[in-house]
């Protein structure tokens, strides 16, 4: 075990220091922030590699909150699950940092950007390394804070700031579930450490209720962070942030924290079948709703955002049937191809001079060949075509759903899962065709991104090709000690064809849809309203606004204006006026001698006492 392994929280300190240094670049040269932050991310990646090669389970503890029965140590633990997450966070994180040097070059707030990005890495590492749940919660809230700051990075635009606030508040709702689960587990097991909790689960007094409450809390937390129904509406809005942020936080890492949490605490979920079923239902609904919505978007980032929500839904499906390692596998491959897609989209946006609407793109493959090919590869991976990365993980998930005994809704879930895979193919194909094929419909002079942006994209594209094939056997055996193993079936020609079929069908549908869209035809009003319904993500936002936000706002207004201002304010003014008048009146009785006052007070108190004791 090397230098880094012996004191492994050092991996958290590196990006933390990087964040501080980047911020201080404000006072030196702002451009230095990029290289500094990138260096710290890369250094953290090498530390993670070192930890991986050391291969041991490590613990690190220090005192934090310690009072009475409540003992919350500052503890970290490194096992195979957290190693995988660390590698993804720092690895993909480093590539995105490199890309950002090019992407953010012109921005005057570049030091802030890199400081937040590094801070995010640190918080995310706390999240995956933390052993006591409150420490995980530090990371959990920390990534939420960075997400808030980065979504609203261009804060002079009020809408962006609003999107950041929405993300924070929706996540807050989930966070309460997390706190609730911590409290339930603390009073049930007497510990807040994951290791302690999981080891004492067998000796609970009321296991069924405890497990259900704790699992429900954790599920709520996960739906917030991982953008599932009912808390998913913040993620599409979060696209207001700079594109590298969308790639790192809102695709590759932070949004998978919910799946990580559920996988980490899986014995609790296993013991709460009702909540597992609920997870499955939420997952299927989310994956379908987001998949359909993605098909109707025109903003290239919105397509990717809804696609992320849909893919997270697939991972939740795996969690719902107890196939945690399949879920984690999809987390890994999804990090590769979705980061690649987002970064390519970033290159496209920059190359077309801040155009995000795919209706004003097209034919970009010629002017941006590297970006285009990378996007195509990653889109194929997303669609789950053999031999790209997404094929392996998606196939594992669907197989797991198929063979899970289908406890929830019979075969339906499996077929709905296949439907999600078809949708994935369709929107991927649509996005690629609209952006890169056909004729250019915009007015800007599109150009390929500089090498510093192309290289990370190409690396991620390569990973999207070989990542699944490389990892599909090693990862599950590596994670087996934590998540339990599964048998990985041999790949025959039939399975390969069958596994790729939904994606291929989807791609065909996508291409067909596109050709039908390009022909303007007379549309019935029903069709238009259906399309609007799908475009606005089944009107969840509108529903929340009129059923939750508005009533609360009204109540708040009522309380503050009517109640506080008029009623209480009026009563108080009345009281003050009466006092003032009686003061004028009583001036006659103010003799100025202290004994009179004291006497008055004593008489008054005596009367009060009489009143009290008499009753």
């Amino acid at each position: 075990m090397g230098f880094f392994g012996s004191a492994f929280p050092v991996i958290i300190l590196i990006p933390l220091c990087g964040a501080i240094l980047s911020f201080l670049c404000r006072y030196a040269r702002k451009r230095l922030a990029g290289p500094i932050a990138t260096a710290s991310a890369v250094l953290a990646f090498f530390t993670a590699l070192e930890m991986y090669s050391a291969g041991a389970v490590l613990h690190w503890r220090s005192d934090w909150i310690n009072i009475g029965k409540l003992v919350v140590p500052f503890s970290f633990t490194l096992d195979s699950l957290s190693t995988v997450m660390c590698l993804i966070i720092t690895g993909v994180g480093s590539l995105i940092h490199i890309f950002s040097i090019g992407y953010m070059e012109e921005d005057s707030g570049i030091h802030r950007f890199f400081a937040y990005l590094n801070l995010f890495l640190a918080a995310m590492l706390v999240l995956v390394l933390g052993d006591s749940l409150p420490v995980v919660f530090i990371g959990w809230e920390g990534v939420g804070l960075c997400s808030y700051l980065l979504i609203g990075f261009w804060f002079t635009n009020s809408d962006y700031a609003k999107a950041g606030q929405k993300a924070f508040v929706m996540n807050r709702i989930g966070d309460l579930g997390f706190l609730f689960a911590i409290m339930v587990l603390f009073w049930a097991t007497g510990s807040v450490e994951i290791s302690g909790i999981l080891s004492s689960l067998s000796s609970l007094q009321t296991p069924a209720l405890t497990m259900m409450l704790a699992a429900a809390g954790l599920l709520l937390a996960a739906t917030g962070k991982s953008a599932q129904i009912p808390l998913f509406t913040w993620l599409p809005d979060a696209m207001a942030g700079p594109t590298p942020v969308s790639a790192l936080i809102h695709a590759a890492t932070m949004v998978t924290a919910g799946i990580y949490l559920l996988a980490r605490m899986h014995p609790i979920l296993d013991a709460a079948p009702d909540i597992q079923d609920l997870t499955l239902i939420i997952a299927v609904l989310t994956a379908l709703v987001a998949g359909v919505t993605a098909l109707f978007q025109f903003d290239i980032k919105k397509v990717l955002a809804y696609s992320t929500v849909s893919q997270l839904g697939l991972m939740f499906m795996a969690v719902g049937v107890g196939a945690y390692q399949a879920a984690m596998f999809h987390v890994v491959t999804h990090a590769f191809f979705k980061a690649c897609l987002f970064l390519s989209a970033g290159s496209v946006i920059l190359g077309t001079h801040h155009e995000q609407d795919m209706r004003r793109m097209g034919g970009l493959l010629r002017s941006m060949p590297f970006t285009g090919i990378s996007f195509a590869v990653a889109a194929l991976a997303l669609a789950g075509i053999f031999p790209f990365a997404g094929y392996y993980s998606k196939h594992q998930i669907l197989e797991a759903v198929h063979s899970s005994g289908l406890k929830c809704c019979g075969e339906t879930v499996y077929y709905l899962g296949l439907g999600v895979a078809v949708l994935t193919g369709a929107y991927s194909a649509r996005a690629f065709c609209m952006t890169f094929l056909g004729k250019y419909r915009g007015h800007a002079h599109a150009h390929e991104a500089p090498p510093i942006m192309v290289v990370p994209v190409v690396v991620l594209a390569v990973l999207s090709v070989i990542g699944g094939w490389l990892l599909h056997q090693t990862l599950s055996s590596y994670l087996a000690p934590i998540l339990g193993g599964v048998e990985v079936e041999k790949e025959g020609l039939i399975t390969i064809l069958a596994g790729s079929a939904p994606g291929i069908i989807g791609i065909l549908i996508g291409a067909f849809l596109l050709s039908s869209v390009s022909r303007p035809s007379s549309e019935s009003s029903l069709k238009t309203s259906l399309r609007d319904f799908a475009f606005s993500a089944f009107c969840f936002d509108r529903f929340y606004n009129c059923c939750v936000v508005e009533p609360l706002r009204r109540t708040s207004n009522l309380l503050s204006v009517v109640f506080e201002r008029w009623i209480i304010g009026g009563a108080v003014s009345g009281l003050a006026a009466v006092t003032q008048m009686s003061g004028e009146f009583l001036r006659i009785s103010s003799t100025g001698s202290i004994p009179t006052y004291v006497g008055g007070i004593i008489v008054g108190v005596a009367v009060l006492m009489l009143l009290f004791t008499g009753s």
Binding site: D63, W64, I65, N66, I67, G68, K69, L70, P134, F137, I138, E141, G142, L145, Y148, G152, F155, T156, N157, S158, A161, K162, Q165, F168, V169, R172, I173, L176, L179, F180, I182, M183, V184, F186, W187, L552, R553, T555, S556, N557, L559, S560, V561, F563, E564, I568, G569, A571, V572, S573, L575, A576, T579, Q580, G604, V605, L608, M609, F612, T613
Partner: protein, 483 residues
Amino acid sequence: MDLAELLTKMIWLPILCGLIVCLLALLRSKWTASAGLFAVIGEAVLLLELLSSLKSGGRWLFSSSTPLISLLGVTWSLSLDGFGLMMVILSVVATSVAAIWEVREESPRPGVLAGLLVSEGALIGAILSTDLLIFYLFWELMLIPMFFMIGLYGGANRFRAAITFVIYTVVGSSFMLAAIMTLALAHGREFGALSTSLFELSKLTSLSSSEQLLIFAGLAVGFLVKTPLFPLHSWLPLAYEEAPTSGAIVMASVMGKIGLLGYSRFVWGLVPGMAGQYASALLWCAAIGSIYAALVAWSERKIIRVVAFSSLSHVNICALGVLASPTLALAGSIFQMLSHGLVIAVALMLCQVMKARFGITERGQSAGLASHVPWFSVLFMLMILLSVALPPSSSFVGEFVIFTGLFKSFPWHVVTVLLSVILGAVYMLSLGREVLFGEPRSEIVSRDLSAIELLLMLPLVLFAVWLGVRPGGILSLLGYFTN
């Protein structure tokens, strides 16, 4: 130095200096500010000496008593426990910051300075006294400087604000006085001699249940009006709005919390049965109050009133642990009071900077301050994050311990209060967005925080963060309460 002597000095030094400042002001001397600063520094030195000479032990870190009026059984008894120590630290910190904030002004108002010092002495006196009558006198003494600070130096509605504040608290404390007299008489009946000492009175066994109810009601109303527990709060927004900032700092950071200290020490010490019986009902008041205040804060137009209601919401959360029972949650509450005291002081100072320098008192129009004044914006953002209890800040630790401590006995209360945590994020972030973000407005061209302002606020913020990261030292002082 003898500890009793040291504590006595801590009480009288600021009061004397306050009177001297008054005198100097009447003589139109230019030494008022220096005299005020002398008291601030002297008090800080005394506090350091106190901290260095304390030894931890059982509940009471220190206790002493000398007879004062033997006929009435009144004693000069000073005691210090973990709760008291936190509050003493908070009083010294808050008044020092407030006094320096006042002196920083171009034309410091000697009346405010004197008022701050006198109320500091009164606060510390009330914190340390374990004789109920002496406690009562200091409790009333706190009122006088605050009345004058609001009434003489407040805003446009100062008279109304001062009168409301006084009526509320005087009515509250007359109930309290009645309760104290009942206790003293009951002691006379049982042991043949009057007494007002907490330790003597806690030996009472012959209280009838109606007497207990009277005592409980009297003390509780007196303490909780000052806190203020919902729905006894309507003096608070007005007082925040009208008081001079330095006065508001002392009022918001410390004064309300003395009510909670009194509740925990005297109500739970003297009539624990009643306190236990009514705990659930009072907890509902606090839980609903925290939500109510958060909802009101969301729609308030004036920024200072948003801060006032946010403070009300947080103070009601602090009250939870005190009202519940002397357990884990109480330790969390005490910790949270310290944390809230630091954060609210910063919030009030930032409000005044906004009002005086940028001319912003109302919400609703994006001010885009983040483009103009970076340091101010950083501090404002940190204040927001501390206020929404982001871990690992001190407010997170406090709330976490309170909620966890309460959860076993009062799960529904906790779930209710958790909702106010969401609302807290809503109104705080909305405020931050409107103040900091959006298109920069060209008419606001102003200078950023001055060095002295930064030196006052930044340490408070950093202290709050540090407390959250390393809460061990403070929590170990509060360990007694969890047994």
